[in-house]
Symmetry: none
């Protein structure tokens, strides 16, 4: 089964809002075993709608249209649908009852425009919209199913999940495509590709691999497209098992995991606490850790030691160390980790010191030079990273790499 998503809305074409509807629908259709071949975003005009419908009908089994059904603009969309499906508008009592339930029940007068929302093409099946006044429409033409849904995200989502997908499943669209995404850190996309080439080449033909890079992280998505495989989940897990043997230290999680969640779970499991002492990351590690609900169980706090006086005053770093080695040095970052661990009384500590840029680089310590130290109950260890020259990315990458150092220690 192949689908097309058509998003109608001028606000999408001027970039005022991001098309989250299309990605939501695409994800849900995929889970239900439908391949989305194309997403088309158009303005609310007859010609554009007809052209998109004509195009989609050429290859799609399912067409999901969103938008263009608000009380002030549904005339174009609905009249165009009538034209395309050779229909005319008729009053739909059940849809009006829904509008009455939403408005009339609360004593709000139903306007003419709202009343007109209950007029639907005579040959569609009306789809109930429990959260809004615009009903959806389901047409069938030459074996293709067309759904027209309101553009308001929470209305559309409910209708898609509660009615359309279950109905499509009843019609036999039940061959799920199985996806699993592995999350890696500590290696770039092309180095990773080089390292896992042999594994990639031996993948069964029905499994597709996608590289999804983000700053500091490369996601690997495996998708099983073969409906005849008895157990696609098991097949994917088997391939993931091989990959985990190949690059065990690089994989930190799967699907929607975040590194800060993974580290948090490890700390919770170990009944351990952590603190941070941040120079170049400037509080970003603290922010990542505290963005996880419930992090106060294992996270005590941070000393953001931007100024050297804070490093000496609040973290007890010896001034001599800074004078002798500079703030961006193995010696200082080590002392920062030891200092914050002691001052905040935690089991573990993370410290960072680096040149985030754009200024402050030298020949010896160019922009991107970053030291990370991890203090454990027994020891302190350090790692040097050479990052890039973009400040924002350096901060993010340094924070993720520092968290990853702690993660690797916690899973030992």
């Amino acid at each position: 089964m192949v689908a097309e998503i058509i998003s109608i809305g001028d606000e999408l074409l001027i970039g005022q809002i991001v098309n989250t509807n299309a990605s939501f629908i695409a994800a849900e259709l995929n889970l239900a075993g439908v391949v989305v071949k194309r997403i088309t975003t158009i303005g609310d005009t007859r010609d554009e709608i007809l052209s998109a419908l004509n195009q989609a009908s050429g290859y799609a089994d399912i067409v999901v249209i969103t938008g263009g059904l608000g009380p002030t603009n549904d005339d174009i969309t609905k009249n165009t649908l009538c034209e395309y499906f050779d229909s005319h508008l008729v009053f739909d009592q059940k849809s009006f009852d829904n509008i009455f339930r939403l408005f009339g029940n609360r004593g709000i007068e139903i306007s003419v425009t709202n009343r007109m929302q209950a007029e639907l093409p005579h040959n569609c099946k009306a789809l109930r919209n429990p959260l809004g006044t615009a009903p959806g429409m389901w047409f069938e033409k030459k074996g293709v199913h067309y759904f027209s849904l309101p553009g308001v995200p929470f209305e559309m989502k409910k209708m898609l999940l509660d009615e359309i997908i279950p109905e499509l499943q009843k019609l036999g669209v039940i061959k799920p495509i199985v996806h699993k995404t592995l999350l890696t850190i500590g290696i770039g996309e092309s180095a990773l590709a080089d390292r896992i080439r042999d594994w990639e080449e031996q993948l069964p033909a029905n499994i597709k691999l996608a590289y999804l890079p983000e700053p500091g992280i490369v996601k690997l998505r495996l998708s099983s497209y073969n409906s005849e495989t008895a157990n696609p989940e098991k097949q994917i897990e088997a391939e993931i098992g091989k990959l985990k043997e190949l690059i065990p230290e690089l994989i930190f999680g799967s699907n929607k995991d975040t590194l800060q969640e993974v580290v948090g779970k490890l700390l919770k499991a170990a009944k351990s606490s952590v603190s941070t002492a941040e120079s170049c990351t400037g509080g970003y590690i603290a922010h990542l850790i505290t963005s996880v609900p419930g992090s106060s169980v294992y996270y005590k706090g941070s000393v953001v030691a931007y100024d050297n006086a804070v490093k000496t005053g609040s973290l007890g770093v010896a001034e001599e160390l800074i004078i002798r080695h500079g703030a961006v040095s193995e010696e200082v970052v080590k002392a920062m980790a030891q200092g914050v661990k002691q001052v905040l009384k935690t089991d573990y500590a993370i410290a960072t010191s680096g040149v985030a840029g754009p200024d402050g680089g030298t020949a010896e310590k160019p922009v991107g030079t970053t030291w990370v130290a991890i203090a454990t109950p027994e020891k302190v260890f350090t790692q040097k990273f050479l990052l890039g020259d973009d400040r924002e990315r350096n901060i993010r990458r340094a924070a993720l790499l520092a968290l990853n150092q702690l993660r690797k220690e916690l899973i030992k």
Copy 2:
């Protein structure tokens, strides 16, 4: 001028990522006076790319393609572009120099796949990608301009803003439209609209006003669409002058300003320093401040006091205060601001304490309750905010509102 945006990527079609690239490009083209007629999202296959190009060439003057240029998948896209533009790949030394600058300079070996990224169709103009290894491509065919850009958002954005739009303006392909955006904080969209209604109604017909709300901030964009106005900049500035008289305290900057930059400039001008003591914001204020290059001049550091023991131990907050009033209270946030100002020896200090959620709320202090304190050289003052129930948004809004309290004090 009419444009089409073509987004290439399987991750878009399975709904794994939201197409923020398309909305960014649409917004920027719109600002430049280009009408985006259609956005098409397709998979990374020859047939889909050719079909999208054929369709776009039928009506568009400008076609912007993103994605399909990563080191592991650029062969399909580039070979298809060669086919469409009747070209063949040749090695581009300048693009290779860029890859060498990004990798080789740091002693990282350049892989074969990375080296192949420097191979480009012979009849395109290579577009430099300062932040990544994939160069962009600019083709011209029958008067239509085609741009192929990497899908990594920050790489694409830089190339679009720094090179493509200015070049198209220089060539006269697009006419500059004058825009200015004012940034407001401390008021919601509809309350702001009510307050400036009279001003909005008296705007000249050629000036369009757009409300662009974001968490914590509402942007007001004024655009002059009439090229016949002798001096559109001056006309817009005159209207802005009136608005500034109407809501002086709500406007903190314009265009691409950020609140943290504005506060940083004010601190620099006052030759003053600041520190932060963060509980509910968990280091996010520190992160915002230190995301500004050169912030070390005025920013000394932060104590992220997530645990109450850190509030008493590192900030000198009396334990009795916490027991009596709770950590989320005017008394405690005041003591935190005073404490960090003293410990980190700064002129000003910001402190936050609140219930970010989703847990931790009570009847008296529901999720969203947030106290902010500002310590100045002379005094400490506080403000209570009742935010929403979304943790991420609460953290961001609390941080911005706290920074704004300091800003208002600094401009007194």
